[in-house]
Symmetry: D3
Subunit: 323 residues, 6 copies
Amino acid sequence: MRLSPANNRMMRQSHEMEFFFGGTELNVAASLATMDCEVTHVSAVSDDFVGESALSAIRSYGIDATHIAKNKHPLGLYFLEVGSSVRASRIAYNRLNGSFANINPDMIDWEKILQGAEYFHWTGITPGISENAYLALKKGLQTANEKGIEITVDPAYRSNLWKYGKEGFEVLKELISYSTILIGGVNEINEIIGTEFASDKESFIAASKEFQKQMPSVKKIFDKVRIGTSASSQTTQGRGWIQGTYFESESIEILQVVDRIGTGDAFAAGLIYGLLNFDDEKALKFGNAACAIKHTVSGDINLCSASDILDVLNGDKGGRIKR
Amino acid sequence: MRLSPANNRMMRQSHEMEFFFGGTELNVAASLATMDCEVTHVSAVSDDFVGESALSAIRSYGIDATHIAKNKHPLGLYFLEVGSSVRASRIAYNRLNGSFANINPDMIDWEKILQGAEYFHWTGITPGISENAYLALKKGLQTANEKGIEITVDPAYRSNLWKYGKEGFEVLKELISYSTILIGGVNEINEIIGTEFASDKESFIAASKEFQKQMPSVKKIFDKVRIGTSASSQTTQGRGWIQGTYFESESIEILQVVDRIGTGDAFAAGLIYGLLNFDDEKALKFGNAACAIKHTVSGDINLCSASDILDVLNGDKGGRIKR
Amino acid sequence: MRLSPANNRMMRQSHEMEFFFGGTELNVAASLATMDCEVTHVSAVSDDFVGESALSAIRSYGIDATHIAKNKHPLGLYFLEVGSSVRASRIAYNRLNGSFANINPDMIDWEKILQGAEYFHWTGITPGISENAYLALKKGLQTANEKGIEITVDPAYRSNLWKYGKEGFEVLKELISYSTILIGGVNEINEIIGTEFASDKESFIAASKEFQKQMPSVKKIFDKVRIGTSASSQTTQGRGWIQGTYFESESIEILQVVDRIGTGDAFAAGLIYGLLNFDDEKALKFGNAACAIKHTVSGDINLCSASDILDVLNGDKGGRIKR
Amino acid sequence: MRLSPANNRMMRQSHEMEFFFGGTELNVAASLATMDCEVTHVSAVSDDFVGESALSAIRSYGIDATHIAKNKHPLGLYFLEVGSSVRASRIAYNRLNGSFANINPDMIDWEKILQGAEYFHWTGITPGISENAYLALKKGLQTANEKGIEITVDPAYRSNLWKYGKEGFEVLKELISYSTILIGGVNEINEIIGTEFASDKESFIAASKEFQKQMPSVKKIFDKVRIGTSASSQTTQGRGWIQGTYFESESIEILQVVDRIGTGDAFAAGLIYGLLNFDDEKALKFGNAACAIKHTVSGDINLCSASDILDVLNGDKGGRIKR
Amino acid sequence: MRLSPANNRMMRQSHEMEFFFGGTELNVAASLATMDCEVTHVSAVSDDFVGESALSAIRSYGIDATHIAKNKHPLGLYFLEVGSSVRASRIAYNRLNGSFANINPDMIDWEKILQGAEYFHWTGITPGISENAYLALKKGLQTANEKGIEITVDPAYRSNLWKYGKEGFEVLKELISYSTILIGGVNEINEIIGTEFASDKESFIAASKEFQKQMPSVKKIFDKVRIGTSASSQTTQGRGWIQGTYFESESIEILQVVDRIGTGDAFAAGLIYGLLNFDDEKALKFGNAACAIKHTVSGDINLCSASDILDVLNGDKGGRIKR
Amino acid sequence: MRLSPANNRMMRQSHEMEFFFGGTELNVAASLATMDCEVTHVSAVSDDFVGESALSAIRSYGIDATHIAKNKHPLGLYFLEVGSSVRASRIAYNRLNGSFANINPDMIDWEKILQGAEYFHWTGITPGISENAYLALKKGLQTANEKGIEITVDPAYRSNLWKYGKEGFEVLKELISYSTILIGGVNEINEIIGTEFASDKESFIAASKEFQKQMPSVKKIFDKVRIGTSASSQTTQGRGWIQGTYFESESIEILQVVDRIGTGDAFAAGLIYGLLNFDDEKALKFGNAACAIKHTVSGDINLCSASDILDVLNGDKGGRIKR
């Protein structure tokens, strides 16, 4: 759950906050559901009216919410103060003791959930939150692996997590060993395997090569490069590397960023949708277009349809009104 | 009536909507009234509190609203989801069975209404909505024509209208034959007389020539060219063609578009104001400046005074505060 | 869809409106889903972002929305100006040409929808809106009847409907002949079978007797009696009549009415829930408590859980905070 | 202009305020215009966008605003903190140096304004604000008197006015000597002629007698008696005294007061409307019903139609929805 | 920090929440500061923009905030869904792992803080939250006790606290042994010393007697009795018992409750203010009036001045506007 | 106090306004307090709930508000209509008869206030408002001067002030003769000493030289140069001149201006903070960075911390989220 003062105000100037339900994996799930994919979200919410509201929102996207548990811990949340131009946005978290951190790994029937699934998506936030979350995820990954499901991972390494006694990069390495597609680039690779590659295109290729050597289960690597010129102006580009072949999408510039949170998740969702519907290169382009259009949508979640994203992919960026 | 989710949200993320009363002819009327012209608006609203609210808004601009009828049909409306940057705005209409579509042509006393009028403005939306609206307009045009009133027309051809059994381009041709000033350019000319001119300056000149040949009542042609680089950034320029003479205004760039709806109507109103007060070329420039400043005003209607528009026309675009 | 000016303002004083998605049958469906019943809603929405928002809201309640069609007509809506104390609320409708009025009866697979259903609920609004809606409903009733499903009807006779050439009371009589439970009282009975009973308890009993004689398929009659002392203060009581036996619930007073719309639907939903879970008399009491608590909930829909309603039924009305 | 924190908040808890344009005479004018009377309002507003907004609002009621002057002084305003139950509302004024206080008496063409007028309404606020306002009003009263127009006066004596060197009661006596109808009761009479009558019915009769003796131009006296049990609950009743005859209206109770400001002006407007359309006794009842229904309307102005008020007068206070 | 959906909505119907900073002890502190007492608040907030906002709010009341620590834990908060009439309000807490629960007892310089203090106020919430909070409070009580400061206690026993391994009633007994004034009645006494007194007046007297026998440091007992007829209507009355003498205040009825949270704290603050300024009986009456008027103020905190409260105490409850 | 229609609306389109408490000197004070400086603000507010709200806001910044007087005049205020792109913002003032204009110079104990102060900041707005304000300021300047306190002045010459019979430039000259640091550039110098320097860098140097010759008490001159390309896009740069040495900061571009009001005050506060903590050149850079970041903050006051400003100074302008 995200809470932010309305109208770009700073929190101390405000008496009201907007809220949205989101979270990196939910963002991916909701975006895929909006594009008419069948999606199941596995999580835990608080057993009170806050959790009920979260379920209501999750159901509204058309996601199967029947595998979301309820427990007596408060719903995790964060406060976001939206920046603008030269002022950065700020986030204050309150999630390490929440309902998701206290998810019960034994309550999740992965066999049933993964019946017929084609893709399993996870991020590095989940194992960073708590040991319970780590164990729940690991069991899911093992089951998915056995079933031969494609497993996409967005490592999303965050140093302000990992408070329960495990080293982030070690856990990530263990869990990535079940995964088949990396959604990440030089930064993530450096953090996980301890390399020090630069951020240019050549380094991305070298890093991908090295990563695949060390993590041989990963067959494909896709990354979005964000060039932020200010809190309200961004450029995005996608890069891909598959078994030695490099390709990239065009750059897309977004002049008036409405909401930057969740743009990485929009990329992940767009990419997965693309992999399900197009070839690898078009999937990357679709992911990049999804990432770009998300910058114009309030909240954590990309609510644009596949057809809206294709319009951007096809260069229809001039603001014509759709009547 | 226009309804749109507040704060650039998508509709499904919202529980609240802003509303404005507008509509292409009303927008022109209200802008002219705001510039202290005497204006009468002829229309029909619903005989309920929604229609009463519309009348209240119309009166607030200083428009003579005494010739607006009331009937038992709901007020026509549309929903607008405001886009941003690479995400286009979207419109969903609900007007084909509304109070205006059911206007009673026999209830309008055009003789009285047009007493002393200098200009009569109409758009192609009106005859596209219903046969009743078409008949009401036609009667008005005939009366105005007899009285020698200048008649301005914005063809505004929309393919999602014209559902009542007549071909749009034929009706428009018939009604334009009463008119003296065309507010439109290559697109409109192509749609009406079935030509295929390109959008460059030379084509505009050629198209104007051809149009005047086919529609000899039209003595002057004025157009605004919009170059949209994104839903939130636009450039506008005015073009004019009068009896063989071409002229144009400077381009004006608007970096942060607040509201794009009604910018064409702001051009029309500015142009008419200009024709009443300046020479043709300055009228075009004034129309273009009006169009530009409308991009910064919420709602369908340009609420800027003539003096504000002159400031833009004179190059005062630096954002100095007027104390 | 309902649109109403925020903060009890009159529409002409307002620039913003709240909106909710509702409608008599949807209200019953959503309330039942909120009480954890499995519910399928059959309807049609517009094929645009407004309809998509409606679907999103419907899914959020946990309703099965897969049998809701989309078509090219605008979503039906109404405007509500909320009254207070001695000022009555006002409604202006815009629904007779909407997506639901244009529902295609042939597109509904009633066999599949009604598989395993226990209850089928309909109201007199549906056949009053259009012939298509009437035909769609009739087919559903016939199928449900064949399957031996309990059919509840809220006649909700409204004189401002029935514009398509059929007499309301005749259609209602025809459709009620498939139904087994009447949710309505003296007013409804008088309107349908043309009697003139008074509103007291004895008349209710006599009317019920007469109604059952004429409409023998109806085995049970349940009614709520509302005593409105002002737009912001109400008292509700339930009455039941089953095969000659009369019973009633206690009265519940609501001093500060938040929202009166949908209280009848809350009664219907509570009653159906009660019939599924309790005996007839407790079902009536539960329906009355549901009706009472709905007066405190914004929007058309009763979002209170069965447990909240049971608290009211058990007399817990003192406003203790639930921590 | 009135500014008040939204949602019943205290000002120090708030970052946003609602605003309404009002003022005792404008309230009467707007209410009469809403009831379809022809009304001209004479005043002065600031020559800036604030004054322009006020004019826009005034025109929206259908009032003739062409006799409202503009000057270089800021628009007068007040802050209102809305109370509730045992907490009283609070007002802070900022009007003694505003545009109306600086109205130029010589700019008002009373001859033209009063052409064909039937009623002239004034209150004691106007001459209390400044000498200019006093002089402007006096000239108007003299002109109206000469023309034989009925002159209604609401003395509205306020001790926090009268800062420009004149005694309130003396000025009021002078101006009332031109007036024919007093809208006021025991309190006002005591303040003006220095008596000490109590507030019961008999005292009202005695006071009216004495007042008429001293102010013989006044032929009719109408008063509303407010019994406030709390900031959110009120009872109103009308009393009348005409040439020795006493009559009264029924009492009306308003349980949930939405806005108490302007209820006296609603009474005055209702009374004048009544005097124009009914006999004296029904006029009083109509005024009282208008006063009652105003308690349910936000802002200073009674926006209810004559037909809404007649519903209350006829006892329709049960909150039935008007569909 | 309290977060609640605006406009009485349920959380799942809302996209926006109002927030207030409060908490039982802060509520008392802020109310006393509003009445111009010198107050120091001892607490801990999060070291981020949320905590900074809390400090900003606390300073705005005129409270000395220099003894409020910052730490790396999120600010405790709760969600409030405001009920109405027969629907109860609901609260969901998130505070057991927050910044206050992690307060460092060794960082508080009680000697310095209590220099010159006359009253020390604490509630049973504090020791129920965490062992750290308990230890910090205990140290403060010991210091205050040594200095001979009056110590008021509101036991506020809540069964959903006390999760850290201590029994609530034992800790409360220990800490009350330092205190001199009990703010509480039969319920609190029963919970603390394990008795089973009823709630009538005689039982209150008997309970007070017994309590004082067991807890001899307590010299005075003050209680407010709340009679809730619904979530939006309440009656309050104060009771006192001092060394064998019983006294009580009048009852005050509040018909339209705006906000019930913090009314007990308003009573405590009013009582302390009263004890500082009046005799015991008037102090009780002042506390009761403060409690009553708080029901009309949004948020947790009573922002009314001492003079506003005296108006209620003196019977001025009729809603007269204070101009 | 500043009042502005929400959401960039024009005032006549709006029913709600946001408000902020600000004013040039308060803005500087609040920004310094936000950067953890000890600040005392000397002013006067109205003795009503509006003034109380202002005090509450002032205290919330951590400013010592104990030397702010209360009087019976309304709080000064202004209306702001926020422009965008080519539409300029507009301001309408209402402050010449307010509480600050009526400040009582004899009530200010400058000796006590200035005890231990390092800097005294004033602007030309104060002496322009009223003779009382001028006298109060003059006494303060004399006291500060005697104590050897650094005195910074922002001349802020406004032609719409100075209505009480004194010439602005003469008063400013008199008061600047007590001051040691000028915050202003060519425009201000030209207005005060009647020169006609151009705005380029060389002219700034020449003007500074001339100014110092005429006003020898001023030892340092700092200016920010604003280049506005539109109401929503600005570039700022700082210039300094100290005893013959010129230096300048880099330019900072702000693409999406949130709020332009108070950016000069943010520069002044940043500069003073810089002078207290860094050398002159870094102070200028810090002031410029403070000015730049203020363009992204709603309201008159720069609420960014010193550390946020240092981030901008160090080039961290890419909109990275601070987690």
